[in-house]
């Protein structure tokens, strides 16, 4: 931002740093203490230990000796952790050591003020960092469940939880058993195959119809535009259980219930709002004079569409298609009602597994699906940037 700083990073008096460090130590010590059997001892021990460490570091080992001091703390805590709890203890201890090594100097040297405006009161500084800790916890809440699933899928036992072997990092506690189950079980393979054959066809239908309609809707002179839009978006708004119920009743009248095409049509209908929304948004930035210019140079509407308009709105179309794909690929409720055993998709198979809690094969599938969604997320992000570049916006 600027070449000068107005902040004052200065060494804090020990009368401030030591109590703060002692409090942090007491907090951490409480957890370790309860885990080892006695909370109060951990509480006092943690406070005393960190206060002493802080005192030594900030007086004798400051400035040029900081690096050495931090390594010492890390190694010391790792060793202590190993003594208490073998390999997992070592990891936890090392993490604690790394954190406290950094924390002692961060507090003691007053580095926590470095990126803040200088006029903040201590209370505001405290709030600033508490707020970040709160946000960190919410992010933790968002991401942990997804992360926890991954190591569990390598469980050697048929449990939904970490076994003692896994916590000891014993190789015997881990295996690819559940992945083998997934690839060898005809049920899961059939489900995978059904998902793979249903989703692309449904996506193709929604993208084709949706793109054409979005182009029509982007014209300025469409009568009843709002009503039409409301109808086209409704599959996204109406609760899935209602769509599923209605489709089940109606498709059985038509003889589509329990057939491949019934499921495909239902999924296409559910994916359409996503295509409409993304393509309409892309078309807002589309310069209509380009099509007029193409027409002026003698291109017929079809050529204009494929050579001029389509390349420009393609990123929007593809990301709409991805949304439609994931909607179909991830959909359970409608396929549960509209499909029959022959159309059992991957999410359906997972749903059965979860209800009857048969095996952690579900977790292996979940890990594979998370990888897939990371891939999709990256694709959509790349497309969005490309689209904004094409439309002359700076990617945000």
């Amino acid at each position: 931002m600027a070449t000068y700083t107005l902040t004052h990073v200065e060494k804090k008096p020990l009368s401030f740093s030591v109590p703060v460090l002692a409090a942090a130590g007491a907090f951490a010590g409480l957890f370790i203490g309860t885990a080892q059997g006695s909370g109060p001892i951990g509480f006092v021990g943690g406070a005393v230990m960190l206060a002493l460490l802080g005192l030594v570091c900030l007086t004798a080992l400051s400035n040029d000796k900081e690096k050495i001091a931090r390594w010492l703390i890390l190694l010391g805590m790792a060793a202590a952790g190993y003594a208490f709890g073998a390999l997992p203890g070592l990891v936890v201890g090392a993490l604690f050591g790394w954190f406290f090594g950094w924390f002692i100097y961060w507090i003691g040297e007053g580095r926590y003020r470095a990126n803040l405006v200088p006029y903040l009161t201590p209370g505001q500084v405290l709030w600033h960092y508490s707020f970040r800790v709160i946000c960190g916890m919410i992010f933790f809440f968002l991401i942990t469940p997804i992360v926890v699933v991954m190591p569990l899928s390598f469980n050697a036992e048929n449990f939904f939880t970490f076994t003692p072997e896994m916590l000891r990092f014993d190789p015997a506690g881990y295996s690819l058993k559940h992945y083998r189950d997934f690839f060898n079980s005809p049920d899961w393979q059939q489900a995978l195959w059904n998902s793979v054959t249903i989703a692309p066809v449904a996506t193709l239908l929604s993208v084709t119809f949706g793109t054409l309609a979005a182009i029509g809707l982007s014209s300025e002179h469409v009568p009843f535009k709002r009503a039409i839009m409301a109808i086209l978006i409704s599959p996204m708004i109406v609760p899935l259980i209602i769509s599923a119920a209605g489709m089940y009743f109606f498709y059985s009248r038509l003889g589509l219930q329990g057939t491949y095409w019934g499921v495909v049509l239902a999924h296409a209908a559910l994916g359409i709002p996503f295509v409409i929304i993304t393509v309409t948004a892309t078309l807002v930035g589309f310069d209509r004079s380009l099509t007029r210019a193409a027409a002026n140079m003698g291109a017929n509407p079809v050529t204009t569409f494929f050579r001029v308009q389509m390349p420009l709105i393609l990123p929007g179309v593809i990301s709409g298609g991805l949304f439609a794909f994931i909607t179909s690929f991830d959909e359970v409720v409608v396929v549960l009602f509209v499909g029959s055993a022959g159309q059992k998709t991957l999410p359906w198979q997972m749903f059965i597994g979860l209800r009857e809690q048969i095996s952690p094969t579900i977790l292996a599938v979940a890990t594979i699906l998370v990888s897939l969604s990371i891939l999709l997320l990256a694709t959509v992000e790349v497309l969005r940037r490309r689209s904004e570049r094409l439309r002359g916006m700076s990617p945000g």
Binding site: F131, F141, H221, I231, R355
Partner: protein, 597 residues
């Protein structure tokens, strides 16, 4: 990277235009474009001095109008395929569901005669209906049992009064024997009554006789109404005119038998012995004193002989036959139910969905112990509110920090929000099952930390807590993303300005920042609320019995109890609630302002 982008400026504009929504739509698209034909139209309008001509000599106004119409048609032609597609695959099913929530034709189509007889019966009186009603019931149920439709009706009426299903199934087995004594007497008296060819000749009046197909088409209609199958085509049988005049009831039953034999059983009429109902109807007509004196067609002698013989036999007592089969037929509650549900459309399902019931005296509340839907609706609303509230609480700080961090950092953190958003719903639900169960990760950590004892692990799943936690996690991105896009448009300088004017941190936030972020909260809240009141999968897996929603009940009625009408009524109520919210969302945010990706 803004899957649910809502434009705050657009919101303000909407508000200013005071609901003039169309102007807002055109504004957005035409503002920066070149002049449109519309503008030219207005310009040509404003010029008073003679019509301006286009290059080909037609008035400019006219040729512009033509161009405009062509444009409109082209746009509609592009939209039409999708609109038709959605109407067939989505709107029609919804309509079908609404129809099913009031439809109740099964009673009147199965008990065609009984329903007519019951019209004059007063349910408030002490007596159950008399002999004519039971006789009508016999004709109806005999045919229904042949066509195997009586169990469907039994199931339907069982929703209203328990025990009807087994009653109907029982009578379906026994109804062949009603009037057995008289039929056997007839057959013993002259074996010709067991001869299919004799019956065929008697009923068709012999070769070359005058024919009357009125009863045949009535029978065809009766069967079509009952089974919803087609009975169109030649039955190989047409009743004789003379016998039709003489024995209308018998002809009518025989015609029904004939059509059913040909189209449902795919046999030849003349080669099949008639149903007992046909013989019973003949006995009934003969004993009721029909005058055979003038009849000279085939079988005249046998008919007269039979009439003389039957005069000594006791009359068939249908009411007694039914009561012998099952004394529940004397239950006036059963007859009230049949009468109440005989109209082709009913409000019964909707009443049931709100814990009311139809009785003879009008609509009244069901007994306290049976009130389940009110509780479920209230629980669904309450839990959706709690989920929405916790999403606001957790989402607001995240949206704030994303909007106030440098773009590069914010984009990195946004991945943490988008990853759950893109991850399969079942993956997230199974993750919560792993986390929350009694042998799960959270309990393990708490036990390891010594905060709870190993034998008193917390119960966090299969109850409301589990549903709320898991659904808050699943729906949180839907709250964060609209909030974030609104907060991005609030200049950070406003807060600094407020503070430099002397506001405290809290005042600056509460009086300056918060009011500007309300559109984001509104958009996110409605979205989360709409999504959560219709949720099915997550409550089904982590909700147990106390954490389930109304949607789980709907699914139960569709797939387990098979009470589709009630499922449709519950669905219609839920749909109405969602549509009201959708409408509010459209008013507040504008549906075309929702952006993905």
């Amino acid at each position: 990277m803004r899957p649910f982008h809502t434009d705050k400026n657009k919101f303000d504009k909407n508000k200013d235009a005071n609901g003039d929504t169309m102007s807002d739509v055109t504004d957005a698209t035409t503002a920066k474009n070149a002049p449109t034909p519309d503008d030219a139209l207005r310009i040509s309008d404003s010029k008073a001095s003679g019509p301006v001509l286009a290059a080909d000599g037609t008035p400019l106004k006219k040729s512009l109008k033509r161009a405009l119409r062509a444009q409109k048609l082209r746009a509609l032609a592009l939209i039409a395929p999708l609109l038709i597609f959605i109407l067939i695959t989505f709107i029609a099913p919804i309509g079908d569901m609404l129809f099913r929530s009031v439809e109740n034709q099964i009673v009147s189509s199965t008990l065609q005669n009984t329903v007519v007889e019951l019209e004059d019966w007063d349910p408030a009186g002490a007596d159950i209906p008399g002999e004519p009603t039971f006789e009508a019931l016999y004709w109806d149920l005999f045919l229904a049992a042949e066509a195997k439709e009586h169990t469907k009706l039994g199931t339907r009426l069982n929703y209203e009064e328990t025990g009807v299903s087994s009653l109907f199934r029982g009578v379906g087995r026994g109804i062949d024997d009603f009037g057995e004594d008289q039929v056997e007497a007839l057959e013993d008296f002259d074996p010709v009554w067991e001869d299919e060819m004799f019956w065929y000749t008697l009923m068709s009046g012999g070769d070359g006789a005058e024919q009357n197909s009125r009863h045949l088409s009535a029978a065809r209609e009766r069967l079509t109404t009952l089974t919803t199958d087609d009975f169109i085509g030649s039955a190989g049988f047409v009743p004789g005119a003379e016998i039709s005049e003489l024995l209308p009831r018998t002809i009518s039953e025989y015609s029904t038998f004939a059509l059913f034999t040909v189209f449902a059983d795919e046999d030849v009429v003349a080669e099949e012995e008639p149903w007992e109902a046909v013989k019973v109807s003949l006995i009934q007509e003969l004993t009721s004193g029909v005058d055979l004196a003038g009849y000279s067609g085939p079988g005249a002698a046998e008919l007269r002989a039979a009439q003389d013989m039957l005069a000594d036999q006791p009359a068939i007592d249908f009411k007694q036959a039914f009561l012998d089969d099952d004394e529940d037929w004397a239950d006036s509650g059963l007859w009230e139910t049949i009468k109440l549900y005989s109209p082709p459309f009913t409000t019964g399902y909707f009443l049931k969905a709100v814990d009311l019931q139809k009785t003879v005296g009008g609509v009244e509340a069901v007994p306290d112990g049976e009130k389940i839907y009110g509780t479920l609706f209230k629980r669904t609303l309450f839990m959706s509110m709690v989920i929405m509230g916790s999403c606001i609480l957790l989402g607001y700080p995240i949206a704030w920090i994303l909007a106030n961090l440098p773009v590069r950092t914010a984009n990195l953190l946004l991945i943490l929000v988008l990853l759950p958003f893109w991850t399969s719903l079942l993956v997230r639900t199974s993750a919560w099952k792993v986390m929350l169960q009694q042998q799960g990760v959270i309990n393990d950590i708490l036990v390891w930390l010594g905060m709870i004892a190993d034998d008193s692990r917390l119960v966090m799943i299969n109850n409301q807590f589990g549903t709320i936690v898991a659904m808050t996690h699943i729906l949180l991105p839907f709250m964060i993303l609209p909030m974030y896009s609104v907060m991005q448009t609030i200049p950070q300088t406003y807060l600094r300005a407020a503070k430099s004017l002397g506001a405290t941190n809290w005042t600056a936030f509460w009086r300056v920042y918060f009011p500007q972020s309300i559109p984001g909260i509104g958009a996110g809240s409605i979205l989360v609320f709409i999504l959560s009141i219709g949720y099915y999968i997550t409550p089904e897996i982590v909700g147990g019995t106390t954490g389930t929603f109304i949607s789980n009940r709907i699914a139960y009625h569709i797939s387990s109890s098979l009470n589709w009408g009630l499922a449709a009524a519950l669905g219609s109520i839920l749909l109405a609630a969602v549509l009201i919210l959708y409408w509010a969302y459209d008013k507040i945010v504008g549906i075309d302002n929702v952006k993905l990706g």
